[in-house]
Amino acid sequence: MSGGGGSKPEELESREALAQQAAVSLQRYGQVFVPMENQYIQSTLNQFSDQNYVNAMGQASTQATGAYEQGMEDFQNAAVMKRGLDPSMGAYQQESAALRAAQARGVGQAMTDAAITNTDRGYQGLSNIVKMGQGLATDAMSGQMEVAQNQMDRVTAQRNQDFGASSSLRNLAGTVTGMGAGSAYGLNRNYGG
């Protein structure tokens, strides 16, 4: 550089105000939403607890058993009242055994599905947490890119100011040689004659 002594560019007052606004927002996020997010994280992890599986499977078993027991009751009433069957009869026992086997299969499948769904929900919750975090990461990265761009803008402004203050370059501007030099420093647009 050749003796140019321009002062540093001043930051707009609104920029600090914007930063303060963002800071207050983040403070509130930390006070209000971070504890809620932490609760969500802990609840999601608890989804994988053995007790949670026991509860889910137990509830499924109760519901499925209730449905099948109602069906068995209907069968017994129909068999005894309408068909005149007796529980000691082979026809009754055969049909009853088949329905009980269906009950065992149905209840087992319901319990299995409840357990697998519990695992699915756990992973789904963790995926949601990852997405929450990725939003944060993207914000932070955007911020870093913004800072880098601002830094570049400042450097560019400073460079132009420095070269603009150079009388040698200013004198050259407007001549063929000067246009070449000006182009080389990007001065033809801002400071060229």
Partner: protein, 181 residues
């Protein structure tokens, strides 16, 4: 309950004893893992932010940029502290064929079918006692096919789950690549 089925399976020569053993009775330590250990923090990462920290600086010292930089650092730290451990855990759960939850789900499927069979057998015994007839035995073929079908369904669900996780985890790459464009 399934002894005869297993014997026939092994006698068929298509699978060896260890394969049958691993499929139906895997290591129980892999099955019941409990709540995953969370290594992340639970504090408030934004507690130390002070909006007026740089208010005394001159405009040419860029107080706004400095404050923005503080905010970005706090966000990054928050991400690393609370969310990155979850990402790491989720990524580590994915296996070549499914997820690490498979063993647990398979064990619970076995438990569910066996428990259901026992409960219904108990009901059948009580019914028989009430009517004064001989108790019947629950159809073992039905229970065996229920178990095999349940185990197959469990594996398929786990495979689907793996794909869903792989799809969900990929979003950050695309986002990170487009930042600043």
């Amino acid at each position: 309950m399934f002894g005869s089925f297993l014997d026939r399976l092994q006698q068929s020569g298509n699978v060896n004893f260890q394969q049958v053993q691993d499929f139906y009775f895997p290591n129980p330590n892999d099955a019941y893992r409990g709540v995953p250990t969370y290594s992340g923090g639970m504090g408030n990462p934004y507690a130390s932010i002070n909006p007026n920290r740089y208010s005394g600086l001159r405009p040419e010292d860029n107080p706004g940029d400095k404050l923005f930089a503080d905010l970005i650092r706090a966000q990054t730290q928050d991400y690393l502290t609370r969310f990155a451990p979850i990402e790491n855990f989720l990524a580590s759960e994915i296996t070549a064929t499914g997820t690490k939850a498979l063993e647990g789900d398979l064990q619970r499927t076995r438990d569910a079918v066996a428990q259901s069979g026992l409960n219904v057998q108990g009901t059948m015994n009580r019914d028989a006692a009430r009517y004064g007839v001989d108790a019947q035995t629950l159809d073992q073929n039905t229970m065996t096919s229920t178990l095999v079908g349940g185990l197959n369904a469990t594996r398929m669900r786990d495979s689907d789950r793996r794909l869903a996780l792989l799809g969900g985890m990929g979003a950050i790459t695309a986002k990170a690549q487009t930042v600043g464009r």
